[in-house]
């Protein structure tokens, strides 16, 4: 069978793929755009109706044969549709690619239908959304069977079967239940896969009879039906037997298959097993397979504009046309102040030579690294950051020197200098805690400052960088944790054979009675130390990152005297007993320090906590206080339930309260309301396309103005404290209005006013308001207060 031949086949019709196809069409090259879904730009199609799409990063210019600007979903899709038609783009929808074989000049692309096409070059632009999982039963594609829900308001008085007990299914069922009869099908026995907030709402809806459910139920088939108004018959296997439900619509929300496996089956290599890692690419977006190019989210660029620029550039690269990347001007600006650097390539070269840490990176990765970073040329004596700051960016020294002033556990100060080729700031980055030292610039200093997220992305995608960073940072951590005067040779000796270990919440590091295996240095997270007293587990202490546990058994050569458990996701480094003992033997100053800490521990264990306090700690740990840096608690024995905390929060933040006083758990009169904990490693920051979530120097985790309203942070927050809200034109009451009990007159809304976009809203601890958090200041009885891990144990004792 001879297959059709094209010069370029583009797989995936998201912004990157569309832009590439458009550029190819403009050049008049033979090309084919393949899309698995029945329509182009499927992901954007499935944005909610009327959703406004944003065009971040705003500084980056757009270069593409099709246009794009911030706007409503419908408008953008229409524009693209018209422009693609005008350019004569050759595309095929409902054509999922199942295999790519061959090599540059002769790729064979096999489609799900069995047809194959051949191409000289392939551009993979399939994104990371993955393929929507279908029901995989007869009738899965009947009209009325759908795998997404754009607008729950569009359906009314229908009988709708929702399949899937995860968050998407439950959320859809809840949204639809207001106006429809909804039957929710769950394959499992319980709705344990959904978030707590969804679960609670679902249980309420079930008990009010708004939603019917079938659990442990498997879909058998769907048939077209003519019974009354019903168009579909949904047949399922329930624990009680077969059931047939006549309905108007079946909505299945079964998640998506991540694309990595598929991409790997094409022969594309990823640097490591981490789920966030991206394939290694050349400066021209070419993968390890010559002739196969990757652009867009799959290549690690999740924003629409980036993907469109790359789509354009990749076609030019394939054609061999020299093209200046869209970010050239931006990078030029970054290097503007650096003496003797006249072009971007010179700057990148300097970076590569003077910072060995970055040597394993490709030029493309270095450009991306620089795009996120900034060059700083501090004057002599300028403080880069201070001890106890909450900043978490990473610094590389390009030229000159800095002085680092640190303090160890016992308050002994130490100063050391770092020269070009070194880096600093990695402790804050890794632990998510306050800076452990102060850094001051010396003469002729040139630094590159990289934000946390870019640095983490780099670590995940470049194993070489991670390894180098680990070597150095581990020694520094050991020195800061144990004894700053320990010589380099001893540090290297200790670090050899050190084992990094990770623990999930509740995992046991070691148990009471175990044989001592070494010293546990906590690099990230926190642990609780507990002991069985009179048959009950009593918490003795809470130990946070930057400290160590396990010295008791080591010093006394006895079995472990207590159990240590991770209170939040924790990373430790286990230093071998033998090496620690040897080093202790050789270094009297370290011996003294560890000894004094040992005695202190023995003394404090004598004042063990009461069982009530111990239970309170367990309760608070369960509420995520273990990973919090600053959490709002309410003493319910004092709270008069006036909700002034909420009212004043709303007043301070454009009319939307960022806390829900009544929601949340209570134990022994201590209530944890639904409000931000400002986690050490904020879950919300994990997947923010425009990088809009930051931590300020004082520790507040906040969302900046470039939020695009995608809702990822809301989904990722395990505590349900982020809401999506329309930015209101909020007017505060004047003094006279307050005294006379009046409200400000609402501005009449213009009839044709566009629907405002929803953006993510969360607590910023009133960082921009004099006096600090309003919720605490507005509490008339002093019931509301905030605690951080540093003062947490004092509170509980």
């Amino acid at each position: 069978m001879t297959s059709e031949k094209f010069k370029i086949v583009i797989v995936g019709s998201g912004p990157g793929g569309l832009s590439a196809a458009a550029r190819a069409a403009e050049h008049g090259i033979s090309h084919l755009l393949l899309e698995a879904a029945p329509q182009l730009a499927n992901t954007i199609h499935h944005f909610q109706k009327g959703k406004s799409v944003m065009a971040e990063p705003s500084v980056l210019p757009l270069r593409s044969s099709i246009s794009f600007g911030a706007g409503i979903r419908e408008h953008i899709l229409n524009t693209w549709h018209n422009e693609l038609g005008g350019l004569g783009v050759n595309f095929r929808v409902s054509s999922a690619v199942t295999a790519i074989t061959g090599e540059a000049g002769a790729f064979e692309i096999t489609l799900a239908s069995g047809v194959s096409v051949s191409a000289e070059f392939v551009v993979l632009a399939i994104g990371v959304q993955g393929n929507i999982r279908k029901l995989a039963v007869p009738g899965e594609d009947l009209p009325g069977v759908q795998y997404h829900l754009d607008d729950p308001e569009a359906f009314r008085d229908e009988t709708i079967v929702v399949v899937g007990g995860g968050d998407a299914g439950v959320e859809n069922a809840l949204a639809l239940s207001a106006q429809n009869r909804v039957i929710l099908i769950n394959r499992q026995e319980e709705f344990s896969n959904c978030k707590e907030a969804n679960f609670d709402q679902l249980m309420a809806a079930i008990s009010q009879g708004k939603i019917e459910t079938r659990v442990s139920t498997l879909t058998e088939r769907i048939e077209a039906s003519n019974t009354g108004n019903f168009k579909l018959s949904y047949l399922a296997q329930t624990p009680e037997g077969h059931e047939q439900i006549e309905c108007h619509r079946v909505i299945a929300r079964l998640g998506a298959k991540p694309p990595r496996q598929l991409v790997e089956s094409f022969g594309v290599a990823f640097p490591n097993g981490d789920s966030t890692s991206v394939p290694q690419l050349t400066e021209q977006y070419e993968s390890n397979l010559p002739g196969l190019y990757i652009v867009g989210a799959l290549a690690g660029y999740p924003l629409i504009k980036q993907a469109m620029n790359q789509g354009y550039e990749v076609i030019e690269y394939i054609l061999g046309n020299p093209v200046e990347p869209a970010d050239e001007a931006l990078l030029k600006q970054k290097f503007a102040g650096v003496p003797d650097i006249h072009s971007v390539s010179e700057g990148i070269a300097l970076l590569r030579i003077n910072q060995p840490l970055l040597a394993p990176l490709t030029t493309l990765q270095l450009r991306e690294f620089m795009l996120d970073s900034s060059v700083r040329i501090p004057s002599r004596g300028e403080i880069i950051f201070s001890r106890n700051d909450y900043s978490n960016s990473f610094f590389s020294i390009l030229e000159g020197r800095v002085a680092v002033q640190t303090e160890d556990q016992n308050g002994n100060e130490a100063v050391f200098a770092l020269g070009a080729g070194n880096f600093f700031g990695e402790m804050g980055l890794l632990s998510g805690r306050r800076r452990s030292g102060t850094v001051v610039a010396s003469e002729n200093c040139i630094l590159v400052e990289t934000p946390r997220r870019s640095m983490l992305k780099l670590l995940y995608s470049a194993a070489g960088v991670q390894r180098k960073l680990d070597e150095v940072s581990l020694k520094r951590a050991v020195s800061g944790c144990l004894d700053t005067s320990l010589p380099e040779s001893e540090l290297s000796y200790l670090v050899q054979g050190a084992q990094p270990r990770r623990y999930a919440v509740g995992d046991v590091l070691f148990s009471e009675g175990d044989k001592a295996d070494g010293l546990y240095m906590i690099r990230r997270g926190s642990v609780t130390v507990s002991r069985i007293v009179a048959g009950k587990e009593v918490v003795l202490a809470y130990v946070s990152a930057g400290n160590y546990v396990g010295e008791m058994a080591l010093m006394s050569s006895q079995p472990r005297s207590a159990t240590v458990r991770a209170a939040s996701p924790t990373e430790v480094v286990l230093l071998e007993s033998v090496r620690v003992a040897e080093v202790l033997g050789r270094n009297t100053s370290m011996r003294r320090k560890v000894d004094s800490r040992y005695l202190e521990q023995v003394r404090s264990d004598e004042h063990a906590l009461s069982s009530e306090s111990s239970e309170l700690i367990n309760f608070l740990m369960g509420q995520g206080v273990g990973e919090a840096t600053d959490v709002l608690l309410i003493d319910y024995a004092r709270c008069i339930r006036c909700n002034n905390c909420e009212t004043s929060c709303a007043d301070a933040h454009d009319g939307t309260s960022r806390l829900d006083r009544e929601a949340g758990s209570t134990f022994a009169q201590i209530h944890v309301p639904t409000s931000c904990r400002h986690c050490e490693h904020p879950h919300c920051m994990k997947d923010c396309p425009p990088d809009a979530i930051h931590r300020s120097v004082n520790g507040e985790v906040f969302i900046s103005d470039n939020c695009i309203g995608c809702g990822n942070c809301q989904t990722n927050c395990p505590y349900g404290v982020i809401q999506m809200a329309v930015k209101q034109d909020y007017q505060k009451r004047s003094i006279w209005q307050v005294m006379l009990g009046l409200n400000p007159a609402a501005k009449p809304a213009a009839a044709d006013a566009p629907e405002l976009p929803k953006i993510a809203v969360k607590c910023d601890m009133c960082k921009d308001i004099i006096g600090g958090p309003v919720c605490v200041r507005a509490c008339p009885t002093g019931a509301a207060f905030r605690v951080s891990p540093e003062n947490f144990m004092e509170y509980v004792k």
């Binding site: 700083r376 009530e612 003493d635 008069i640 339930r641 921009d768 002093g782 004792k797």
Partner: protein, 310 residues
């Protein structure tokens, strides 16, 4: 308990406002005793009277300002904001974490603590100001209103100090809505369970469902009781009627119903307690604030008329 509980209203900042008002009262009493207004001739008209009157008026205005502060605690935006944002990342200046900056920076708790002590001090200050002369006139009216405001305030203080703990003990993590949902559920269960039984039981269950009130009139809310509560009545009746309906399946159904109603009765009691505690915690404000306004009016009349005497 634990240190999670900071200082209460009364103990705030180590009794700062108790100390301040005590000193004030002491000075006032000493002055009154020393200057000894010759056998009760001292009206407000003496210089001591004027001083005490003016001071008390100022205190009253400050006390009333609490109502405004409570609604405007938000405070001013940090004006250094603009500068900080323009500074390159990492160069942000540390924000000083001062707890209170004058009156505007004080927490509402501090305001309320001061409000309580200063309010109570008026009993002494204003009584001295009267020189113990009372009559049927606007002056004594203002004085009486003031005492009423203070009395209601003291009641408020006592419920604020005691009731929050009771609310948590009664409700745990649940809200009133949660309880109502459960009660409705039990009603529905009882209704369907009773269907196979004679009308007498069905109408009893219907009565329990339809006539049980949670909340209701002000008196019912404040007392936390419903006279002849239909649920308790139903529980009692079921116990009696179970002797009558004892054939076949009936005893089992009667037992089920009995336990359903018992559960409901417990929930109803909790819900009523919740309503009662909340009502008692709020009701006094409906006296305290309007009486305060009335006091302000009477005080104005008092001051204006004084100047006519002059």
């Amino acid at each position: 308990m634990n240190k999670m509980q900071g200082a209460t209203l009364l103990k705030y900042k180590n009794f700062r406002y108790l100390k301040a008002t005590s000193a004030l009262i002491l000075v006032a009493i000493t002055a009154y005793a020393l200057i000894n207004p010759a056998g009760g001739e001292s009206y407000g008209g003496t210089w001591l009277g004027y001083t005490l009157g003016t001071l008390s008026t100022l205190i009253m205005l400050l006390l009333m300002w609490y109502g405004v502060t409570k609604r405007r605690i938000t405070g001013a935006p940090d004006r250094r904001d603009a500068r900080r944002q323009s500074a390159p990342a990492g160069q942000e200046r540390r924000k000083p974490h001062t707890k209170s900056r004058g009156m505007n920076g004080a927490t509402l708790q501090e305001w309320l603590s001061a409000h309580v002590y200063l309010g109570a001090s008026l009993v002494v200050l204003v009584t001295l100001h009267t020189g113990f002369h009372f009559g049927l006139n606007v002056h004594t009216l203002a004085y009486a209103l003031m005492l009423l405001v203070i009395t209601s305030g003291l009641y408020g203080l006592s419920v604020y100090l005691n009731y929050p703990r009771l609310i948590t003990l009664n409700m745990g993590e649940e809200t009133l809505e949660d309880l109502m949902l459960k009660i409705n559920e039990l009603d529905e269960l009882a209704r369907t369970r009773a269907l196979g039984l004679p009308d007498e039981i069905n109408s009893l269950i219907a009565k329990v469902r339809n006539e049980t009130r949670i909340g209701g009139t002000l008196l019912q809310q404040l007392s936390g009781k419903q006279y002849n509560c239909p649920t308790s009545f139903g529980v009692e009746q079921l116990r009696i009627l179970s002797e009558k309906y004892n054939r076949g399946e009936q005893p089992k159904i009667m037992r089920d119903l009995y336990s359903l109603l018992l559960r409901k009765e417990k929930l109803v009691l909790r819900a009523r307690t919740e309503v009662m505690l909340k009502a008692r915690m709020e009701c006094w404000l409906y006296l305290h604030a309007p009486l305060g306004i009335a006091l302000l009016a009477a005080l104005t009349a008092h001051i204006v008329s004084i100047f006519f005497y002059w």
